[in-house]
Amino acid sequence: MGELFSSLLSFREQVNGAERLRSLLKGWDRVVTVEASDTGRKYTMLFTDTRAGEPRAAVAGEEVDISLKAEERVLIDVFRGVQNPAALFLEGNLQVFASDKDQVRLDAITLILWD
């Protein structure tokens, strides 16, 4: 499935293993898509019951709550905790389409995991 898929699996493991995130994710049920702008690979992850679901190939026309888009290398680095997603977002190298609140919560996940 590729390195991006592996990084999403790794991210899922980290999220589900971090007890600090249980409060943050309580009541936060979201459909998140991750799209590589250069390779076209697109995956979906569900966040339900304070857990991250297994990533799967995105379905065309699916309604999503949050959408992330960047070059594949950038996405891999983000989901492995190598690069700061907030910095990438500010530089315009990572596009995040979500409400303000969801953007902050999504970033908070990475903050708790890796900062």
Binding site: R20, L24, K26, L90, G92, Q95, F97, K101, V104, R105
Partner: protein, 452 residues
């Protein structure tokens, strides 16, 4: 058949309109109507709208290049570098705090028409506490509710202005406005203030729901919103100049309430106060969300102290950033109330915002040159040369607006210099210490043999 995307476009337009409608806007119109004659006022509003259309085109192109990015920080960084971007961002944040004092004062002036015994610090604190409290609790107003409230305010203003136009003018004959200054001078003074009326429309740019929104819906929502605002402000200004008080400063800070009373009697006053409440709450709520998001982003960049990235695990709300913004706004409001400098502060805010707009337009012009290869799903029709001229004009109007009210010109200049100077110093400190910090991190990392 009405499509879902049609609703989405309407949402963007209403959001852009709502962001610009503020009590301080009505106060600015009131001040301008007493400072320049009718022709200069109406022409300045039209010219300001035209300038804002150019600005909108630039921002639309920038946002299509960097969709959903935190606007000013990103656009200016890629165009002019980190230090300049940080300086303008800090100046904008300081302006937001100063603007809070202007807005709450304008709200208080309107409120005292119906509740005269409420002291300004109390109404200011209550309004800020309400908006900050809602945001700290992580409560999100349904978008449709916010938009409905915006439509209500637009309708009320339009109806009252229309009614005021339908009754005979009450402006005293022979009333001299503008001190006999040449028309061109009046125009130059008024345009900067008129641009201030429209400020906020561009905050819709980062709110696109997906990449497709940045091809047409977001870019076109801004000019449509500007046309709506132009018609509304022109109608309001025209009604206002037909009913100027004999003592020109009387009621200049709440002209919308004056028109409400004139057309509908006491119920009109209550109606316009309701419109004021909705204006200030929706503007503050949206402004607080956008500003705290910017502060959170700066905190993640380590340009601000760790408090800026503090979040509530229960609600996910950026409580640190919201608290910082709330506290700064309250402090600025109290200082302005104590020293009664709201007029000077509003002119300083207008000046800073004109410069911010100049930076946006300049950034787009520069990126056309230095990054021509970046994909631009939307492209402004305005030639680069014209964009450069508009940027220069905006900067010039930003300077001239400081002198729109001679009695407070010196203070306006001082406040503007304080805001800009503080921003320059802060950004210099951040950039220099961050550079030192990054150097240390690299040294430590190398000594540890870290791979990352």
């Amino acid at each position: 058949m009405i499509r879902k995307t049609d609703f989405e476009f309407g949402e963007y337009v209403a959001t852009a309109v709502g962001m610009a409608l503020a009590c301080s806007g009505y106060a600015m119109l009131g001040q301008l109507s007493c400072a320049v004659d009718a022709a200069a006022l109406l022409l300045s509003i039209s010219v300001a709208a035209g300038l804002c259309l150019v600005i909108a085109g630039s921002i639309a192109e920038l946002s299509s290049m960097y969709p959903a990015a935190p606007g000013i920080r990103t656009y200016l960084r890629v165009a002019f570098g980190d230090w300049f971007s940080l300086s303008v961002t800090f100046a904008l944040l300081l302006m937001v705090a100063a603007f809070a004092g202007v807005e709450t004062h304008a709200f208080h002036v309107a409120l005292r028409e119906v509740i005269p015994f409420v002291p300004a610090p109390v109404s200011t604190t209550l309004v800020l506490a309400l908006v900050v409290g809602v945001n700290l609790a992580g409560v999100e107003w349904p978008l449709r509710v916010q938009l409905a409230l915006t439509c209500f305010v637009v309708l009320v203003l339009a109806v009252v202005s229309g009614l005021a136009l339908s009754i005979p003018a009450t402006t005293p004959a022979g009333l001299v406005i503008g001190g006999g200054a040449p028309f061109s001078a009046q125009l130059a003074l008024a345009i900067g203030g008129a641009v201030f009326l429209f400020t906020g429309f561009e905050w819709v740019a980062p709110l696109g729901k997906g990449p497709a929104a940045y091809r047409r819906r977001i870019p076109w929502s801004m000019p449509v919103a500007l046309v709506v605002l132009l018609l509304l402000f022109a109608l309001f200004a025209w009604a206002r100049v037909r009913h100027l008080p004999a003592g020109l400063t009387t009621g200049s800070e709440a002209p919308h309430v004056s028109l409400g009373v004139l057309t509908l009697g006491r119920p009109g006053a209550y109606l316009m106060v309701v419109a004021s409440v909705l204006s200030v709450v929706t503007t503050f709520n949206a402004g607080l969300m956008g500003t705290s998001r910017l502060i959170y982003a700066l905190g993640r960049e380590k340009c601000l102290p760790p408090l800026a990235v503090k979040i509530s695990l229960a609600t996910g709300a950026p409580v640190g950033a919201v608290s910082i913004v709330g506290a700064a706004c309250w402090l600025a409001a109290m200082c302005e109330e104590i020293f009664q400098v709201q007029l000077a502060a509003s002119l300083a805010c207008a000046s800073v915002y004109c410069s911010v707009y100049a930076a946006y337009v300049g950034a787009n012009a520069r990126l056309r040159k230095v990054r021509p290869d970046v994909e631009r799903p939307f492209r402004s029709r305005v030639p680069v040369a014209v964009q450069v001229v508009v940027a220069a004009l905006l900067f010039a109007f930003g300077v001239s607006v400081l002198f729109a009210e001679p009695a407070v010109a010196a203070l306006s200049v001082v406040l503007m210099v304080v805001m800009v100077g503080s921003a320059l110093v802060a950004s210099s400190v951040v950039v220099s210490t961050r550079g030192i910090g990054e150097g240390r991190a690299v040294t430590v990392s190398r000594s540890r043999g870290d791979v990352r």
